[in-house]
Amino acid sequence: MHKRASVRCAAAIISLTVVFSGGAVAANAADSTTLTDIVLGVGSDDSQRNLAWYSSTDTAQVAQVSLASKVVDGVFPATATSFTATGGLTTSNEYNRFVTVTGLKENTDYVYRVGSEGNWSATSKFRTQDFDGDFNFLFFGDPQIGSSGNVANDTAGWADTLNVATSAYPDAEMLFSAGDQVESANSEPQYEAFLSPNQLRQIPFVATNGNHDVGSKAYEQHFNTPNVDRTAGAGSATGSGGDYWFIHKDVLFMNINSNSRDFTSHIKWMTDVVAAHGAEAKWSMLAFHHSIYSPAVHATDTDAVDRRNNLPTTISNLGIDVVLQGHDHAYARSYLIRNGQKADAAEVAGADSVVPGPGGVLYVTANSSSGSKYYGLQNKPEFWWLSVQNQEQVRNYTALEVTDDAINIKTLRSQANGAMAVNSLVDQVTINKAPETDTQELQVTVPKADAGEFGWSIDGTNALVDLGTATESGDHYAAVGTLNPIRVTDTRVAGPEWSISAQVSDFTSGSTSFSGKYLGWTPTVVEAGGGAVAGAKVESGFEGGNGLSVSSTLGSAATGHARGSAKLGAGLDLQIPMDATDGTYKATVTLTALS
């Protein structure tokens, strides 16, 4: 007992130490500057990181960075390197601070804090990995915190998606946003909510300028992006703008402010960047917010059409491999597109492996990562570019795994949808480097099934119902039997919902009748498959209720169910009152399967 108490005492001391080191900022009353909105960004290359934060007062501040290995007993190392912060007054009357941390080494854990002597932020960590070779990063569609009207919900969805994604991809080297970080460009509470997950201080965040970010300077005051050219895709006196680029592990990333439709400036900027840095890169990727090959409501917007008419040829000519986009709050993956047209007429929808020839570009549009807003698919015939589209109104994220020879793009649910668990696959495609001309490679493309069909096998005779022999049962006559099982097959690719309902007419005999409500049933899945679920039991209406006189469900499958086949049956239960007029009765059961 005594020993146990001393152990507990030691535990208390340890926790107190933690409290004191964390509380030091508050304890020092000399400098009451509050430091908020700290976000870690990418630098120009792998040896750099950019930091940005907000400060309540305009004091001289630094970022201190140290090897994590030098932290002893939780004390921030005195030998840390300081980087002087720049910045100024923000539109929300705070002060922003930018720092570029340079000289980072490969495969190293670092700790950092920002502020000034006596008033430091909490300590955060980040890790560098190999500066070349394979890597993966995570791509997120429009978090748009606040767009549902409920900042707390949107933030919870965003935080959960980040947790799910970074747990599934613990080595992810970037968090890449498709833009529209917040609903209202100048809302500091929304920014604070958006930046609240700790991952934004640990893994470099790549911001894209969306239409909801552009109404204020807050976007460019919050995000410290490298190599910004504010003359290309320029902002306005009150709105954010600029195009920027960086290189990460031999991949050139370009990010343009698509709010500006000054295509001349974007095209010149991209052309210049590729001319200067294209040779260093094994792949190149472009990101901008307003998707030009999307599946939902924004695809037909006049501004989207304008971008679609002006950008694709340049994107093909510059040899860009992948374009990452948002804005339409629904998932889409394009066919390979060259100069604004389907590059290979033979490419099948949903192919899981593609080999782009020269100028072939794959465009990905991300669904909502926070769940704050979804747009329904338009299913318009003129949307020739859609290889895959998906809208299940659950949160998604996309993991891009980059190797020398291929880019694998997997889009996953960060939120379960019925039987589809968290991290289940929405879509995946691998972009393979075209084989060298002097080598011969074998390749086979496994096509996805064609459009697919909803069908059934049902008894073609009228022997569908066999109720056996009715027996007297207390105050009524009862008959039981089984519905001949029905096989349902659904091979439609997207797995849209289906259901089979039944309704029984009145039992009639000449001019007399009794209600169909006296028939009840117990649906069952005789053979499971394709996400089929049996309908609820319906009691005979003898005791009360409507029985099968109202439409009841035999079975159904929810949106997004697996392709496949199921067998559905039902136990039937007829209970007729003893005072029913005698006669020979007939009734019709209408079984309706709708796809």
């Binding site: 015939p381 073609g460 709708l594």
Partner: protein
Amino acid sequence: MRRSTTLTHAALVAILATVGTLAAVSPASADAGDVSWGVRTAANDQGTDRQNFGYEIDPGAAVTDALVVSNHDAVPLDLALYGADGFTTEAGQLDVVTQDTESVALGAWIDFTADSVTVPAGESVEVPFTVNVPDNATPGDYAGAVITSLGQPSQEQGLSVDRRLGIRIHLRVGGELAPALTVADMRVDYTGSANPFAAGDATVTYTLENTGNARLTAGQKVTVTGPFGMLPADALKMKAVPELLPGESWKVTTRIAGVIPTFLLSAKTVVTLQSASSDEADPAIAPVESTATTWAVPWALLVLLLLVAAIVVATVLIVRRRRRNRKRLEDARVDEAVQRALAERETELV
């Protein structure tokens, strides 16, 4: 009475016997047994690889489309073709009216070039149809289906089965869209517990009515509170509201356990409307609220308190009476002693 039941019994046997005889006659194929067919959307100007049919058509306009019917059997298949109006079932699924019920909206606007189709064995046939929206059609959302139905010979008796396989159609008729929803007949009932210290259950019921012209789904939150918003309790795991077509309603019943009887109980529901259609450009719809109140008297506790009070009063009365009795006896004893003493003194004086 005895005679009547015997006859009913006989009638029932007749139903079943008839079903048995008809089994020998196959209307659709030479072989008795299963018939397999499937439907899908055609690939044409209206779209490719569609999940089902969806249109936006202005009043007076029409759209021509087609479904593909595939016969997976070794014998030709005759199927009837028609359109039918949709409705939401009590289980929340879309179904369409049976052949006995005349379609009056979308179902009535669907025209097939023929009433039936014969699909050769193992083949697929593209079946065109037209959706003609009348000039006077009300703007808003409609649901229905194009139906393929396996023909059946007319029967004199028995339990026959109409087998229909179809593809749903969602139609939005152009014009002003006015989504609206009301909460009707809201009430809350309270069931207390026999245990005076236990909480009871509140049951909240109401009906959601889609009073607008757009199909809708809704999120809902139900909370019960005591007076002045004390002790709020939320309904958990509420069943989702299915897509409601214009004019349809949906009954909601939810039980909230662990509600403390605070004499007056208020229930409030906040229904958040969501458009179920694919077009997000709907007018924004404000959440709809409704409240109801009921008495939630802690009867068991009150009875217990009354019992306790009665015991206390009774005890006090008994104690008082005993004290009074004791005093009276004591007084009598003293009196008697005095009398006796006085009597003795008088005796001495003598």
